[in-house]
């Protein structure tokens, strides 16, 4: 379970997070929707440990992870621009967490099958379309054995027609995980699906 209590974060005089609290149960997908610049990315960065909150706490499965660095939080993360390493193949990108002792070859095969990526494993990311890059980013997050999944506008690069296919696929895969999922978007249409 993900529990966020009373998060505050300010940059100078500019208060960005003002008492944000939320609870997400395992198997539940919550969508956070807001306009650009409203603090969604700041919240994501505080949840994942890139930024320290000025006040408040983040608990995962009852454990207070607020003082933990990002690498110790076990949060699966799919960023807006997919964050794939262009010097690595698709397979190497998906297997990235294994070198940190996270995930397994079985999880890799499962994620590749679920997201139909078998034929692209030897490709470099820049050869793939936005939709497939998003799938690779999700596969990599799945392999990392996350306790919480966080998707920050993961299919912004994908056009509306392809989103019609990609969104249900993402939802089905995420629901199978039985972990808390926070999906961040600025698009009400995307949030509705």
């Amino acid at each position: 379970m993900l529990e966020v209590h009373n998060l505050h974060k300010a940059f100078g005089d500019h208060l960005v997070l003002n008492g944000v609290s939320l609870d997400i149960n395992p198997g539940e997908i919550q969508v956070l929707i807001g306009l650009n610049g409203c603090g969604k990315t700041t919240l994501q960065r505080v949840l994942t440990g890139i930024l320290k909150p000025d006040q408040g706490s983040v608990h995962i499965d009852g454990q207070d992870v607020t003082p933990f660095p990002p690498e110790d939080r076990m949060i699966g993360y799919v960023p807006q621009n997919t964050g794939l390493f262009r010097h690595l193949t698709i397979k190497e990108n998906i297997l990235y967490p294994l070198r940190n002792g996270r995930g397994s070859e079985d999880k890799f095969r499962e994620a590749v099958n679920l997201l139909s990526l078998e034929q692209y494993l030897d490709w470099k990311p820049d050869k793939l379309s936005g939709g497939y890059r998003a799938r690779v980013a999700l596969a990599r997050a799945l392999v990392s054995s996350p306790r919480v999944m966080l998707l920050d506008e993961p299919i912004t690069e994908v056009d509306r027609a392809k989103k019609e296919y990609v969104l249900p696929l993402f939802r089905d895969v995420l629901l199978q995980l039985h972990i808390p999922v926070l999906y961040i978007t600025h698009d009400p249409w995307e949030a509705g699906r």
Partner: protein
Amino acid sequence: MRKVSIWEVLFIPLFFFLIIFPILAILGNVTVEGMTLTFGDPVFWIAVRNTLITAFLAALLGVLLALGFGYFYIFHPGTVMYRIADFMNDLPIALPHTVAGLALLLAFGRNVMGFVGPTGLAFTLVAVILAMFFVSYPLAARTIASAAEEIDKELISVARKLGDSPPKAYRRGVIPLLDEAIFSAFVLGFSRSLSEFAAVIMFGGNVPGMTQVLASYVFTKVEEGEVSMAVTASAFCILLSLLLVLVLRMRGWSHARSAQSA
């Protein structure tokens, strides 16, 4: 008819007169006698060997340290250490290189490093490497820092969330993306090291057959009145530098072509 701007009128003759003409003056004064004497001089070839080895090692050390600076730039830009390193990066550029050489002599000469030998590190090939490194490192550091600035910070954040500690994220996620910058930093550092004279002669000395490099070989030959040999050695330096510039440009062209085809 195309109208010629004032900048072209100023630039073209001045560029040719002040930059190209001196280079041609060297190349045009190379004589067969000078080539025979120089290329038959074993001390010249030792100076060439010394130059290439010391410049290579100085550039390598420069890239290594520049990558360390890049790490601070990405992960700890707010720290005092980073600010000091950033400020000091520009100092060797502004400093007269004789002063740099003297500073190295006082820091690593017999007073401080007397336990390694009668002159400390001074007047050895290690001193030559350190002198070349001292003046070429800022170029490498600036090159790496500029490239690091271009890297998408989200990638580093992704690497951390996938379990990488900052040093690991830097090694696995950042350094491979700096390949072009690392190459450029090395070639720039190597070129700068090749051309260094003042710091090298102050700290490394100018012992023929031992610590003499091409730049100091040219100086010695002028002093000895062997102008034809000095000219030949200088022409050799020019060709070496042109080769380096060509390597850098060819790498840039091939990179641009591969970026276009991607």
